[in-house]
Protein backbone atom coordinates (compact mmCIF):
# COMPACT_ATOMS: atom_id res chain seq x y z
CA UNK A 1 0.00 0.00 0.00
CA UNK A 2 2.70 2.45 1.05
CA UNK A 3 4.85 1.53 -1.92
CA UNK A 4 2.01 2.07 -4.35
CA UNK A 5 1.22 5.40 -2.73
CA UNK A 6 4.81 6.53 -3.16
CA UNK A 7 4.96 5.41 -6.76
CA UNK A 8 1.70 7.24 -7.48
CA UNK A 9 3.12 10.33 -5.83
CA UNK A 10 6.22 10.14 -8.00
CA UNK A 11 4.08 9.68 -11.09
CA UNK A 12 2.08 12.75 -10.16
CA UNK A 13 5.27 14.75 -9.66
CA UNK A 14 6.58 13.62 -13.03
CA UNK A 15 3.36 14.75 -14.69
CA UNK A 16 3.59 18.18 -13.06
CA UNK A 17 7.23 18.48 -14.08
CA UNK A 18 6.24 17.64 -17.65
CA UNK A 19 3.64 20.43 -17.59
CA UNK A 20 6.30 22.88 -16.41
CA UNK A 21 8.66 21.87 -19.20
CA UNK A 22 5.85 22.07 -21.75
CA UNK A 23 5.01 25.57 -20.52
CA UNK A 24 8.60 26.59 -21.06
CA UNK A 25 8.81 25.05 -24.52
CA UNK A 26 5.55 26.68 -25.62
CA UNK A 27 6.60 30.15 -24.57
CA UNK A 28 9.89 29.81 -26.39
CA UNK A 29 8.38 28.25 -29.49
CA UNK A 30 5.92 31.10 -29.85
CA UNK A 31 6.85 33.95 -32.16
CA UNK A 32 8.22 37.02 -30.35
CA UNK A 33 9.48 37.11 -26.79
CA UNK A 34 8.00 38.53 -23.59
CA UNK A 35 9.94 41.76 -23.90
CA UNK A 36 8.41 42.43 -27.31
CA UNK A 37 5.01 41.86 -25.77
CA UNK A 38 5.72 44.33 -22.98
CA UNK A 39 7.05 46.80 -25.52
CA UNK A 40 3.92 46.38 -27.59
CA UNK A 41 1.68 46.78 -24.56
CA UNK A 42 3.40 49.93 -23.37
CA UNK A 43 3.37 51.45 -26.82
CA UNK A 44 6.94 51.29 -28.07
CA UNK A 45 10.29 51.04 -26.33
CA UNK A 46 13.87 51.88 -27.23
CA UNK A 47 16.16 49.00 -28.29
CA UNK A 48 18.47 49.77 -25.35
CA UNK A 49 15.63 49.42 -22.84
CA UNK A 50 14.52 46.18 -24.52
CA UNK A 51 18.05 44.79 -24.25
CA UNK A 52 18.21 45.86 -20.62
CA UNK A 53 14.90 44.14 -19.89
CA UNK A 54 16.11 40.98 -21.63
CA UNK A 55 19.14 40.90 -19.35
CA UNK A 56 16.94 41.61 -16.35
CA UNK A 57 14.60 38.71 -17.16
CA UNK A 58 17.53 36.44 -18.05
CA UNK A 59 16.32 36.08 -21.63
CA UNK A 60 19.85 36.52 -23.01
CA UNK A 61 21.10 33.29 -21.44
CA UNK A 62 21.13 29.96 -23.33
CA UNK A 63 17.84 28.01 -23.29
CA UNK A 64 18.91 25.14 -20.99
CA UNK A 65 20.06 27.67 -18.39
CA UNK A 66 16.76 29.51 -18.69
CA UNK A 67 14.90 26.23 -18.24
CA UNK A 68 16.93 25.49 -15.10
CA UNK A 69 16.19 28.92 -13.67
CA UNK A 70 12.50 28.54 -14.50
CA UNK A 71 12.32 25.08 -12.88
CA UNK A 72 13.97 26.24 -9.67
CA UNK A 73 11.66 29.25 -9.55
CA UNK A 74 8.58 27.09 -9.94
CA UNK A 75 9.86 24.69 -7.30
CA UNK A 76 10.02 27.62 -4.88
CA UNK A 77 6.44 28.56 -5.75
CA UNK A 78 7.56 31.55 -7.78
CA UNK A 79 5.46 31.66 -10.94
CA UNK A 80 6.84 34.91 -12.25
CA UNK A 81 5.50 38.41 -12.47
CA UNK A 82 2.38 39.49 -14.34
CA UNK A 83 3.22 41.98 -17.12
CA UNK A 84 -0.15 43.57 -16.83
CA UNK A 85 -1.19 43.60 -13.19
CA UNK A 86 2.36 44.07 -11.93
CA UNK A 87 1.85 41.53 -9.20
CA UNK A 88 3.47 38.14 -8.52
CA UNK A 89 1.42 35.49 -10.36
CA UNK A 90 1.35 33.17 -7.35
CA UNK A 91 -0.18 35.94 -5.25
CA UNK A 92 -2.86 36.60 -7.85
CA UNK A 93 -3.70 32.90 -8.10
CA UNK A 94 -3.89 32.53 -4.32
CA UNK A 95 -6.24 35.48 -4.21
CA UNK A 96 -8.58 33.93 -6.82
CA UNK A 97 -8.62 30.34 -5.58
CA UNK A 98 -11.31 30.68 -2.87
CA UNK A 99 -13.91 32.03 -5.31
CA UNK A 100 -13.31 29.25 -7.83
CA UNK A 101 -13.24 26.64 -5.09
CA UNK A 102 -16.59 27.85 -3.78
CA UNK A 103 -18.12 27.80 -7.26
CA UNK A 104 -16.73 24.43 -8.34
CA UNK A 105 -17.46 22.63 -5.08
CA UNK A 106 -21.05 23.93 -4.92
CA UNK A 107 -21.67 23.01 -8.56
CA UNK A 108 -20.20 19.52 -8.23
CA UNK A 109 -22.04 18.88 -4.97
CA UNK A 110 -25.30 20.03 -6.50
CA UNK A 111 -24.77 17.86 -9.56
CA UNK A 112 -23.73 14.88 -7.46
CA UNK A 113 -26.61 15.01 -4.98
CA UNK A 114 -29.38 15.87 -7.42
CA UNK A 115 -27.94 13.82 -10.29
CA UNK A 116 -27.45 10.58 -8.38
CA UNK A 117 -30.75 11.24 -6.60
CA UNK A 118 -32.87 11.33 -9.73
CA UNK A 119 -30.71 8.64 -11.34
CA UNK A 120 -31.32 6.22 -8.50
CA UNK A 121 -35.01 7.07 -8.20
CA UNK A 122 -35.52 6.59 -11.92
CA UNK A 123 -33.94 3.12 -11.79
CA UNK A 124 -36.98 1.90 -9.89
CA UNK A 125 -39.05 2.45 -13.02
CA UNK A 126 -36.73 1.94 -16.02
CA UNK A 127 -39.33 3.26 -18.47
CA UNK A 128 -41.00 5.79 -16.24
CA UNK A 129 -41.33 9.52 -16.65
CA UNK A 130 -38.18 10.23 -14.65
CA UNK A 131 -36.15 7.95 -16.91
CA UNK A 132 -37.37 9.75 -19.99
CA UNK A 133 -36.56 13.04 -18.31
CA UNK A 134 -32.99 11.83 -17.78
CA UNK A 135 -32.66 10.85 -21.44
CA UNK A 136 -33.75 14.33 -22.53
CA UNK A 137 -31.64 16.01 -19.85
CA UNK A 138 -28.49 14.17 -20.90
CA UNK A 139 -28.97 15.15 -24.55
CA UNK A 140 -29.64 18.80 -23.68
CA UNK A 141 -26.88 18.91 -21.07
CA UNK A 142 -24.34 17.76 -23.63
CA UNK A 143 -25.53 19.88 -26.55
CA UNK A 144 -26.24 23.27 -24.97
CA UNK A 145 -23.11 25.44 -24.76
CA UNK A 146 -22.64 26.21 -21.08
CA UNK A 147 -21.78 29.88 -21.61
CA UNK A 148 -24.90 30.33 -23.70
CA UNK A 149 -27.10 28.81 -21.01
CA UNK A 150 -25.44 31.21 -18.56
CA UNK A 151 -26.12 34.25 -20.74
CA UNK A 152 -29.74 33.21 -21.23
CA UNK A 153 -30.10 32.99 -17.45
CA UNK A 154 -28.54 36.44 -17.14
CA UNK A 155 -31.15 37.82 -19.55
CA UNK A 156 -33.94 36.08 -17.66
CA UNK A 157 -32.86 37.22 -14.21
CA UNK A 158 -31.65 40.67 -15.14
CA UNK A 159 -34.56 41.96 -17.16
CA UNK A 160 -37.55 39.64 -16.91
CA UNK A 161 -37.52 38.26 -13.39
CA UNK A 162 -35.03 40.25 -11.32
CA UNK A 163 -34.91 38.24 -8.10
CA UNK A 164 -31.29 37.09 -8.25
CA UNK A 165 -28.02 38.97 -8.83
CA UNK A 166 -26.45 38.06 -12.17
CA UNK A 167 -22.89 39.35 -11.87
CA UNK A 168 -19.99 39.31 -9.45
CA UNK A 169 -19.67 37.62 -6.09
CA UNK A 170 -20.84 40.44 -3.81
CA UNK A 171 -23.18 43.40 -4.12
CA UNK A 172 -21.53 46.68 -5.08
CA UNK A 173 -22.27 48.26 -1.69
CA UNK A 174 -21.02 45.18 0.17
CA UNK A 175 -18.26 45.75 2.66
CA UNK A 176 -17.32 42.05 2.58
CA UNK A 177 -16.02 40.87 5.88
CA UNK A 178 -17.55 37.40 6.15
CA UNK A 179 -20.39 38.21 8.54
CA UNK A 180 -23.83 36.66 8.24
CA UNK A 181 -25.12 39.33 5.85
CA UNK A 182 -22.03 38.89 3.67
CA UNK A 183 -22.53 35.12 3.52
CA UNK A 184 -26.14 35.54 2.42
CA UNK A 185 -25.01 38.05 -0.19
CA UNK A 186 -22.36 35.68 -1.59
CA UNK A 187 -24.80 32.75 -1.51
CA UNK A 188 -27.31 34.73 -3.56
CA UNK A 189 -24.65 35.60 -6.11
CA UNK A 190 -23.55 31.96 -6.18
CA UNK A 191 -26.91 30.46 -7.15
CA UNK A 192 -26.92 31.18 -10.88
CA UNK A 193 -23.26 30.40 -11.69
CA UNK A 194 -23.29 27.22 -9.62
CA UNK A 195 -26.53 26.06 -11.23
CA UNK A 196 -25.19 26.77 -14.73
CA UNK A 197 -21.92 24.96 -14.09
CA UNK A 198 -23.70 21.99 -12.52
CA UNK A 199 -26.08 21.41 -15.46
CA UNK A 200 -23.66 19.41 -17.64
CA UNK A 201 -22.60 17.20 -14.77
CA UNK A 202 -26.11 16.84 -13.43
CA UNK A 203 -27.07 15.36 -16.78
CA UNK A 204 -24.08 13.02 -16.83
CA UNK A 205 -24.30 11.85 -13.25
CA UNK A 206 -28.01 11.12 -13.42
CA UNK A 207 -27.49 8.99 -16.51
CA UNK A 208 -24.49 7.20 -15.02
CA UNK A 209 -26.17 6.60 -11.67
CA UNK A 210 -29.24 5.29 -13.43
CA UNK A 211 -27.44 2.75 -15.59
CA UNK A 212 -25.13 1.68 -12.74
CA UNK A 213 -28.14 1.23 -10.48
CA UNK A 214 -29.93 -0.85 -13.12
CA UNK A 215 -26.83 -3.02 -13.46
CA UNK A 216 -26.50 -3.52 -9.72
CA UNK A 217 -30.19 -4.24 -9.23
CA UNK A 218 -29.91 -7.16 -11.62
CA UNK A 219 -27.12 -8.84 -9.68
CA UNK A 220 -27.26 -11.84 -7.37
CA UNK A 221 -26.53 -10.17 -4.06
CA UNK A 222 -29.53 -7.90 -4.50
CA UNK A 223 -31.73 -10.92 -5.09
CA UNK A 224 -30.25 -12.47 -1.94
CA UNK A 225 -30.92 -9.31 0.03
CA UNK A 226 -34.52 -9.30 -1.14
CA UNK A 227 -34.86 -13.02 -0.42
CA UNK A 228 -33.66 -12.41 3.12
CA UNK A 229 -36.72 -10.24 3.51
CA UNK A 230 -34.98 -6.87 3.72
CA UNK A 231 -37.22 -3.93 3.04
CA UNK A 232 -37.01 -2.43 -0.41
CA UNK A 233 -35.53 0.83 0.88
CA UNK A 234 -32.70 -0.98 2.71
CA UNK A 235 -31.96 -2.96 -0.45
CA UNK A 236 -31.98 0.16 -2.58
CA UNK A 237 -30.17 2.66 -0.40
CA UNK A 238 -27.89 0.44 1.61
CA UNK A 239 -26.93 -2.36 -0.74
CA UNK A 240 -27.38 -1.05 -4.24
CA UNK A 241 -26.59 2.65 -3.91
CA UNK A 242 -23.10 2.10 -2.56
CA UNK A 243 -22.19 0.05 -5.61
CA UNK A 244 -23.96 2.31 -8.04
CA UNK A 245 -22.01 5.32 -6.76
CA UNK A 246 -18.70 3.85 -7.86
CA UNK A 247 -18.79 4.93 -11.52
CA UNK A 248 -20.14 8.35 -10.54
CA UNK A 249 -17.28 8.95 -8.10
CA UNK A 250 -14.74 7.85 -10.69
CA UNK A 251 -16.10 10.13 -13.37
CA UNK A 252 -16.44 12.98 -10.87
CA UNK A 253 -12.78 12.78 -9.91
CA UNK A 254 -11.35 12.15 -13.35
CA UNK A 255 -13.37 14.93 -14.91
CA UNK A 256 -12.06 17.62 -12.67
CA UNK A 257 -10.17 19.21 -15.55
CA UNK A 258 -13.45 19.52 -17.46
CA UNK A 259 -15.12 21.16 -14.50
CA UNK A 260 -12.32 23.71 -14.44
CA UNK A 261 -12.88 24.38 -18.14
CA UNK A 262 -16.56 24.92 -17.45
CA UNK A 263 -15.63 27.23 -14.59
CA UNK A 264 -13.60 29.45 -16.96
CA UNK A 265 -16.66 29.96 -19.18
CA UNK A 266 -19.13 30.35 -16.33
CA UNK A 267 -16.92 32.79 -14.41
CA UNK A 268 -16.53 34.85 -17.56
CA UNK A 269 -20.30 34.98 -18.08
CA UNK A 270 -21.15 35.89 -14.48
CA UNK A 271 -18.07 38.02 -13.74
CA UNK A 272 -17.23 35.64 -10.92
CA UNK A 273 -13.84 36.77 -9.58
CA UNK A 274 -12.11 33.38 -9.72
CA UNK A 275 -9.24 31.65 -11.49
CA UNK A 276 -11.19 31.20 -14.73
CA UNK A 277 -11.92 34.88 -14.91
CA UNK A 278 -8.22 35.52 -14.26
CA UNK A 279 -7.32 33.18 -17.13
CA UNK A 280 -9.73 35.02 -19.42
CA UNK A 281 -8.41 38.44 -18.42
CA UNK A 282 -4.79 37.41 -18.87
CA UNK A 283 -5.49 35.83 -22.26
CA UNK A 284 -7.12 39.04 -23.45
CA UNK A 285 -4.02 40.97 -22.40
CA UNK A 286 -1.54 38.39 -23.69
CA UNK A 287 -0.22 38.20 -20.13
CA UNK A 288 1.79 34.95 -20.56
CA UNK A 289 3.16 34.48 -17.03
CA UNK A 290 -0.32 34.66 -15.56
CA UNK A 291 -1.99 32.33 -18.04
CA UNK A 292 0.89 29.84 -17.75
CA UNK A 293 0.69 30.05 -13.98
CA UNK A 294 -3.02 29.30 -14.05
CA UNK A 295 -2.41 26.37 -16.41
CA UNK A 296 0.28 24.95 -14.14
CA UNK A 297 -1.77 25.43 -11.00
CA UNK A 298 -4.82 23.79 -12.59
CA UNK A 299 -2.74 20.82 -13.78
CA UNK A 300 -1.48 20.32 -10.23
CA UNK A 301 -5.06 20.40 -8.97
CA UNK A 302 -6.09 17.82 -11.57
CA UNK A 303 -3.18 15.52 -10.66
CA UNK A 304 -4.08 15.76 -6.98
CA UNK A 305 -7.76 15.15 -7.74
CA UNK A 306 -6.89 12.02 -9.72
CA UNK A 307 -4.93 10.65 -6.78
CA UNK A 308 -7.75 11.50 -4.38
CA UNK A 309 -10.23 9.77 -6.67
CA UNK A 310 -8.06 6.70 -6.64
CA UNK A 311 -8.06 6.70 -2.84
CA UNK A 312 -11.79 7.35 -2.59
CA UNK A 313 -12.36 4.50 -5.00
CA UNK A 314 -10.52 2.12 -2.72
CA UNK A 315 -12.46 3.30 0.30
CA UNK A 316 -15.82 2.74 -1.39
CA UNK A 317 -14.87 -0.57 -2.95
CA UNK A 318 -12.56 -2.69 -0.80
CA UNK A 319 -12.24 -5.23 -3.62
CA UNK A 320 -9.95 -2.86 -5.49
CA UNK A 321 -6.47 -3.48 -4.22
CA UNK A 322 -3.20 -2.13 -5.52
CA UNK A 323 -2.84 -3.16 -9.12
Amino acid sequence: MLRSLISRLLQGLALVLAVVVLNFILVHAAPGDPVETIAGASGGMSPELMAQLRTQYGLDKPLPVQLGVYLSQVARGDLGFSYFFNLPVSEMIAERVPATLLLVVSAVLLAFVVGTGIGVLSARKPNGLLSQFITVLSLVGFAAPIFWVGIMLVILFASIWPILPVAGMRSIDSSGGGGWADMVDVAQHLILPAFTLSLVYLAQYSRLARSAMLDVLGSDFIRTARAKGLTESVVLYKHALRNALLPVVTVLGLQFGNVLAGAILVETVFNWPGLGRLAFESVLRRDYPTILGVLLFSSIVVVVMNQVTDLAYRLIDPRIKTS
Binding site: P145, Y288, S298
Partner: protein, 297 residues
Protein backbone atom coordinates in the same frame (compact mmCIF):
# COMPACT_ATOMS: atom_id res chain seq x y z
CA UNK B 1 -43.89 -27.44 -38.81
CA UNK B 2 -44.28 -30.07 -41.49
CA UNK B 3 -43.79 -27.47 -44.11
CA UNK B 4 -40.39 -26.42 -42.77
CA UNK B 5 -39.14 -29.98 -42.39
CA UNK B 6 -40.27 -30.63 -45.93
CA UNK B 7 -38.35 -27.61 -47.10
CA UNK B 8 -35.23 -28.74 -45.25
CA UNK B 9 -35.29 -32.17 -46.79
CA UNK B 10 -36.51 -31.07 -50.18
CA UNK B 11 -34.51 -29.91 -53.12
CA UNK B 12 -35.73 -26.32 -52.77
CA UNK B 13 -33.64 -25.71 -49.62
CA UNK B 14 -31.74 -22.46 -49.65
CA UNK B 15 -29.48 -20.92 -47.09
CA UNK B 16 -31.12 -17.89 -45.46
CA UNK B 17 -29.73 -14.75 -47.00
CA UNK B 18 -27.17 -13.24 -44.63
CA UNK B 19 -27.07 -9.48 -44.62
CA UNK B 20 -23.74 -7.74 -44.78
CA UNK B 21 -23.11 -6.18 -41.32
CA UNK B 22 -22.80 -2.71 -42.80
CA UNK B 23 -26.12 -3.05 -44.57
CA UNK B 24 -27.71 -4.36 -41.40
CA UNK B 25 -26.34 -1.43 -39.40
CA UNK B 26 -27.57 1.05 -41.98
CA UNK B 27 -31.02 -0.55 -41.93
CA UNK B 28 -31.18 -0.36 -38.14
CA UNK B 29 -30.00 3.24 -38.24
CA UNK B 30 -32.66 4.16 -40.79
CA UNK B 31 -35.36 2.62 -38.62
CA UNK B 32 -34.37 4.76 -35.63
CA UNK B 33 -36.59 7.87 -35.64
CA UNK B 34 -34.40 10.05 -33.45
CA UNK B 35 -31.31 9.24 -35.54
CA UNK B 36 -33.19 10.25 -38.68
CA UNK B 37 -34.31 13.48 -37.03
CA UNK B 38 -30.67 14.17 -36.12
CA UNK B 39 -29.58 13.41 -39.67
CA UNK B 40 -32.17 15.79 -41.15
CA UNK B 41 -31.18 18.52 -38.68
CA UNK B 42 -27.49 18.16 -39.47
CA UNK B 43 -28.01 18.04 -43.24
CA UNK B 44 -30.14 21.19 -43.02
CA UNK B 45 -27.40 22.97 -41.07
CA UNK B 46 -24.79 21.83 -43.60
CA UNK B 47 -26.93 22.90 -46.55
CA UNK B 48 -27.47 26.35 -45.04
CA UNK B 49 -23.77 26.74 -44.21
CA UNK B 50 -22.68 25.69 -47.70
CA UNK B 51 -25.35 27.28 -49.88
CA UNK B 52 -26.46 30.17 -47.64
CA UNK B 53 -23.51 32.56 -48.14
CA UNK B 54 -23.66 31.89 -51.87
CA UNK B 55 -27.34 32.92 -51.98
CA UNK B 56 -27.11 35.86 -49.57
CA UNK B 57 -23.98 37.37 -51.13
CA UNK B 58 -23.40 39.68 -48.17
CA UNK B 59 -20.52 40.56 -45.85
CA UNK B 60 -21.28 39.28 -42.35
CA UNK B 61 -19.13 42.04 -40.81
CA UNK B 62 -20.91 44.78 -42.73
CA UNK B 63 -23.30 47.16 -40.99
CA UNK B 64 -26.60 46.39 -42.66
CA UNK B 65 -29.35 48.16 -40.76
CA UNK B 66 -29.87 50.35 -37.70
CA UNK B 67 -28.17 48.85 -34.61
CA UNK B 68 -30.34 46.88 -32.19
CA UNK B 69 -33.18 46.31 -34.67
CA UNK B 70 -35.40 43.76 -32.96
CA UNK B 71 -35.98 40.40 -34.67
CA UNK B 72 -39.00 39.58 -36.85
CA UNK B 73 -38.93 43.06 -38.36
CA UNK B 74 -39.49 43.59 -42.07
CA UNK B 75 -35.87 43.96 -43.24
CA UNK B 76 -33.82 42.06 -40.62
CA UNK B 77 -35.68 38.84 -39.86
CA UNK B 78 -33.52 37.96 -36.89
CA UNK B 79 -32.67 41.53 -35.93
CA UNK B 80 -29.30 43.28 -35.86
CA UNK B 81 -26.61 43.38 -33.20
CA UNK B 82 -25.21 46.40 -31.36
CA UNK B 83 -23.22 47.44 -34.44
CA UNK B 84 -26.10 46.97 -36.84
CA UNK B 85 -24.84 43.72 -38.37
CA UNK B 86 -27.62 41.48 -39.63
CA UNK B 87 -27.95 38.48 -37.29
CA UNK B 88 -29.32 36.18 -40.01
CA UNK B 89 -26.35 36.91 -42.28
CA UNK B 90 -23.81 36.43 -39.50
CA UNK B 91 -25.61 33.23 -38.49
CA UNK B 92 -25.43 31.78 -41.99
CA UNK B 93 -21.78 32.74 -42.49
CA UNK B 94 -20.81 31.83 -38.95
CA UNK B 95 -21.98 28.27 -39.52
CA UNK B 96 -19.19 27.75 -42.04
CA UNK B 97 -16.32 28.41 -39.64
CA UNK B 98 -17.95 26.60 -36.74
CA UNK B 99 -18.81 23.47 -38.70
CA UNK B 100 -15.51 23.43 -40.57
CA UNK B 101 -13.39 23.78 -37.43
CA UNK B 102 -15.58 21.21 -35.64
CA UNK B 103 -15.25 18.64 -38.42
CA UNK B 104 -11.53 19.09 -39.09
CA UNK B 105 -10.55 19.25 -35.40
CA UNK B 106 -12.57 16.11 -34.66
CA UNK B 107 -10.96 14.30 -37.61
CA UNK B 108 -7.54 15.34 -36.37
CA UNK B 109 -8.23 14.18 -32.82
CA UNK B 110 -9.63 10.85 -34.04
CA UNK B 111 -6.61 10.27 -36.31
CA UNK B 112 -4.14 10.98 -33.49
CA UNK B 113 -6.18 8.89 -31.06
CA UNK B 114 -6.54 5.89 -33.36
CA UNK B 115 -2.88 5.89 -34.37
CA UNK B 116 -1.47 6.15 -30.85
CA UNK B 117 -4.10 3.80 -29.40
CA UNK B 118 -3.49 1.21 -32.13
CA UNK B 119 0.27 1.22 -31.60
CA UNK B 120 -0.08 1.08 -27.81
CA UNK B 121 -2.57 -1.77 -27.89
CA UNK B 122 -0.88 -3.75 -30.64
CA UNK B 123 2.75 -3.57 -29.59
CA UNK B 124 2.16 -3.49 -25.84
CA UNK B 125 5.18 -3.51 -23.51
CA UNK B 126 7.45 -0.51 -23.63
CA UNK B 127 5.67 1.17 -26.56
CA UNK B 128 2.41 0.91 -24.65
CA UNK B 129 3.96 2.28 -21.45
CA UNK B 130 5.43 5.32 -23.21
CA UNK B 131 2.30 6.08 -25.25
CA UNK B 132 0.05 5.69 -22.22
CA UNK B 133 2.23 8.09 -20.23
CA UNK B 134 1.81 10.64 -23.00
CA UNK B 135 -1.94 10.03 -22.98
CA UNK B 136 -2.03 10.44 -19.21
CA UNK B 137 -0.13 13.69 -19.55
CA UNK B 138 -2.66 15.10 -21.98
CA UNK B 139 -5.49 13.95 -19.76
CA UNK B 140 -4.04 15.87 -16.86
CA UNK B 141 -3.65 19.08 -18.86
CA UNK B 142 -6.86 21.08 -18.47
CA UNK B 143 -7.95 21.01 -22.12
CA UNK B 144 -9.61 24.41 -22.44
CA UNK B 145 -6.83 26.23 -20.57
CA UNK B 146 -4.15 24.54 -22.63
CA UNK B 147 -5.94 25.38 -25.86
CA UNK B 148 -6.27 28.96 -24.63
CA UNK B 149 -2.53 29.11 -24.02
CA UNK B 150 -1.66 27.65 -27.43
CA UNK B 151 -4.03 29.96 -29.30
CA UNK B 152 -2.86 33.01 -27.34
CA UNK B 153 0.81 32.28 -27.93
CA UNK B 154 0.45 31.49 -31.64
CA UNK B 155 -2.20 34.13 -32.44
CA UNK B 156 -5.80 33.08 -33.12
CA UNK B 157 -6.61 31.80 -36.60
CA UNK B 158 -8.72 28.96 -37.99
CA UNK B 159 -5.58 26.81 -38.22
CA UNK B 160 -4.30 27.34 -34.67
CA UNK B 161 -7.78 26.89 -33.20
CA UNK B 162 -8.30 23.65 -35.12
CA UNK B 163 -4.86 22.34 -34.16
CA UNK B 164 -5.33 23.29 -30.51
CA UNK B 165 -8.67 21.48 -30.30
CA UNK B 166 -7.29 18.41 -32.08
CA UNK B 167 -4.25 18.24 -29.83
CA UNK B 168 -6.18 18.38 -26.56
CA UNK B 169 -9.07 16.06 -27.35
CA UNK B 170 -7.66 12.78 -28.65
CA UNK B 171 -7.07 10.93 -25.37
CA UNK B 172 -10.49 9.29 -25.13
CA UNK B 173 -10.21 7.84 -28.63
CA UNK B 174 -6.69 6.61 -27.91
CA UNK B 175 -7.81 4.72 -24.81
CA UNK B 176 -10.80 3.24 -26.59
CA UNK B 177 -8.67 2.12 -29.57
CA UNK B 178 -6.05 0.64 -27.28
CA UNK B 179 -8.67 -1.38 -25.41
CA UNK B 180 -10.08 -2.72 -28.69
CA UNK B 181 -6.61 -3.65 -29.96
CA UNK B 182 -5.76 -5.39 -26.70
CA UNK B 183 -8.93 -7.41 -27.13
CA UNK B 184 -8.35 -8.39 -30.75
CA UNK B 185 -4.62 -8.96 -30.96
CA UNK B 186 -4.78 -12.31 -29.15
CA UNK B 187 -7.76 -13.63 -31.12
CA UNK B 188 -7.39 -16.52 -33.50
CA UNK B 189 -8.01 -14.72 -36.76
CA UNK B 190 -5.26 -12.26 -35.95
CA UNK B 191 -2.85 -15.03 -35.05
CA UNK B 192 -3.75 -16.82 -38.26
CA UNK B 193 -2.92 -13.70 -40.19
CA UNK B 194 0.46 -13.54 -38.48
CA UNK B 195 1.06 -17.21 -39.16
CA UNK B 196 0.67 -16.68 -42.89
CA UNK B 197 3.32 -14.00 -42.70
CA UNK B 198 1.39 -10.73 -42.61
CA UNK B 199 3.40 -7.75 -41.39
CA UNK B 200 2.53 -5.54 -38.42
CA UNK B 201 1.23 -2.72 -40.60
CA UNK B 202 -1.16 -5.04 -42.43
CA UNK B 203 -2.42 -6.59 -39.20
CA UNK B 204 -2.95 -3.22 -37.54
CA UNK B 205 -4.69 -1.35 -40.35
CA UNK B 206 -6.24 -4.08 -42.48
CA UNK B 207 -7.08 -6.82 -39.99
CA UNK B 208 -7.72 -5.40 -36.52
CA UNK B 209 -8.83 -1.84 -37.28
CA UNK B 210 -11.87 -2.78 -39.42
CA UNK B 211 -13.09 -4.98 -36.58
CA UNK B 212 -12.45 -2.30 -33.98
CA UNK B 213 -14.24 0.37 -35.99
CA UNK B 214 -17.85 0.25 -34.70
CA UNK B 215 -17.23 1.79 -31.27
CA UNK B 216 -14.68 4.16 -32.81
CA UNK B 217 -17.21 5.47 -35.33
CA UNK B 218 -19.58 6.31 -32.49
CA UNK B 219 -16.89 8.08 -30.51
CA UNK B 220 -15.78 9.97 -33.63
CA UNK B 221 -19.33 11.24 -34.12
CA UNK B 222 -19.49 12.49 -30.56
CA UNK B 223 -16.05 14.05 -31.02
CA UNK B 224 -17.51 16.30 -33.73
CA UNK B 225 -20.09 17.59 -31.27
CA UNK B 226 -17.47 18.15 -28.60
CA UNK B 227 -15.18 19.96 -31.05
CA UNK B 228 -17.99 22.31 -32.12
CA UNK B 229 -18.67 23.16 -28.47
CA UNK B 230 -14.95 23.63 -27.89
CA UNK B 231 -14.62 26.00 -30.85
CA UNK B 232 -17.65 27.95 -29.66
CA UNK B 233 -16.18 28.24 -26.16
CA UNK B 234 -12.82 29.45 -27.47
CA UNK B 235 -14.36 32.07 -29.72
CA UNK B 236 -16.69 33.14 -26.94
CA UNK B 237 -13.57 33.84 -24.87
CA UNK B 238 -12.26 35.98 -27.72
CA UNK B 239 -9.84 33.34 -29.00
CA UNK B 240 -11.47 32.53 -32.31
CA UNK B 241 -10.22 33.78 -35.64
CA UNK B 242 -11.21 37.49 -35.52
CA UNK B 243 -11.53 37.60 -39.31
CA UNK B 244 -13.90 34.63 -39.53
CA UNK B 245 -17.48 35.04 -38.41
CA UNK B 246 -18.47 32.13 -36.20
CA UNK B 247 -21.33 31.38 -33.83
CA UNK B 248 -19.11 31.59 -30.75
CA UNK B 249 -17.66 34.90 -31.93
CA UNK B 250 -21.18 36.32 -32.31
CA UNK B 251 -22.06 35.32 -28.76
CA UNK B 252 -18.77 36.60 -27.38
CA UNK B 253 -18.91 39.97 -29.14
CA UNK B 254 -22.53 40.69 -28.23
CA UNK B 255 -22.20 39.49 -24.65
CA UNK B 256 -21.85 42.93 -23.11
CA UNK B 257 -24.89 44.24 -24.96
CA UNK B 258 -27.01 41.22 -24.25
CA UNK B 259 -29.59 43.12 -22.22
CA UNK B 260 -30.38 45.37 -25.17
CA UNK B 261 -30.24 42.70 -27.90
CA UNK B 262 -30.88 39.20 -26.59
CA UNK B 263 -31.43 37.96 -30.13
CA UNK B 264 -27.80 38.47 -31.15
CA UNK B 265 -26.82 35.88 -28.53
CA UNK B 266 -29.89 33.65 -28.43
CA UNK B 267 -29.93 32.65 -32.12
CA UNK B 268 -26.28 31.64 -32.57
CA UNK B 269 -26.51 29.69 -29.30
CA UNK B 270 -29.55 27.87 -30.60
CA UNK B 271 -27.67 27.08 -33.81
CA UNK B 272 -24.83 25.51 -31.80
CA UNK B 273 -27.33 23.65 -29.65
CA UNK B 274 -29.25 22.23 -32.62
CA UNK B 275 -26.06 21.17 -34.42
CA UNK B 276 -24.53 19.42 -31.42
CA UNK B 277 -27.90 17.85 -30.58
CA UNK B 278 -28.15 16.55 -34.16
CA UNK B 279 -24.65 15.08 -33.98
CA UNK B 280 -25.31 13.34 -30.68
CA UNK B 281 -28.65 11.94 -31.89
CA UNK B 282 -26.77 10.49 -34.87
CA UNK B 283 -24.12 9.16 -32.50
CA UNK B 284 -26.72 7.45 -30.33
CA UNK B 285 -28.38 6.01 -33.43
CA UNK B 286 -25.06 4.68 -34.71
CA UNK B 287 -24.34 3.23 -31.29
CA UNK B 288 -27.62 1.32 -31.32
CA UNK B 289 -27.07 0.15 -34.88
CA UNK B 290 -23.40 -0.81 -34.59
CA UNK B 291 -23.20 -2.15 -31.04
CA UNK B 292 -26.59 -3.75 -30.42
CA UNK B 293 -25.22 -5.58 -27.41
CA UNK B 294 -24.10 -2.39 -25.71
CA UNK B 295 -27.37 -0.61 -26.30
CA UNK B 296 -27.85 2.02 -23.65
CA UNK B 297 -30.83 1.44 -21.45
Amino acid sequence: MSKSSLALSGAGFRLPKVEHPTVEALRMFARNPSAIVGMVMLLTMLAVAIAGPWILQADPFEIAYAPLTPPFSAEAWLGTDYLGRDVLTTLVYGGRATLLVGAVAATLSVLIGITLGAFAGYYGGRVDAVLMRITEFFQVLPALLFAMVVVTLFSPSLVTVTLAIGIVSWTGTARLTRAEFLKYRVLEFVRAERAIGAGDARIIWKVILPNALPPLIVSATLAVGAAILFEAGLSFLGLGDPNQMSWGLMIGSSRQYVLSCWWAVAFPGMAIFVTVLAVSLIGDGLNDALNPKLRAR
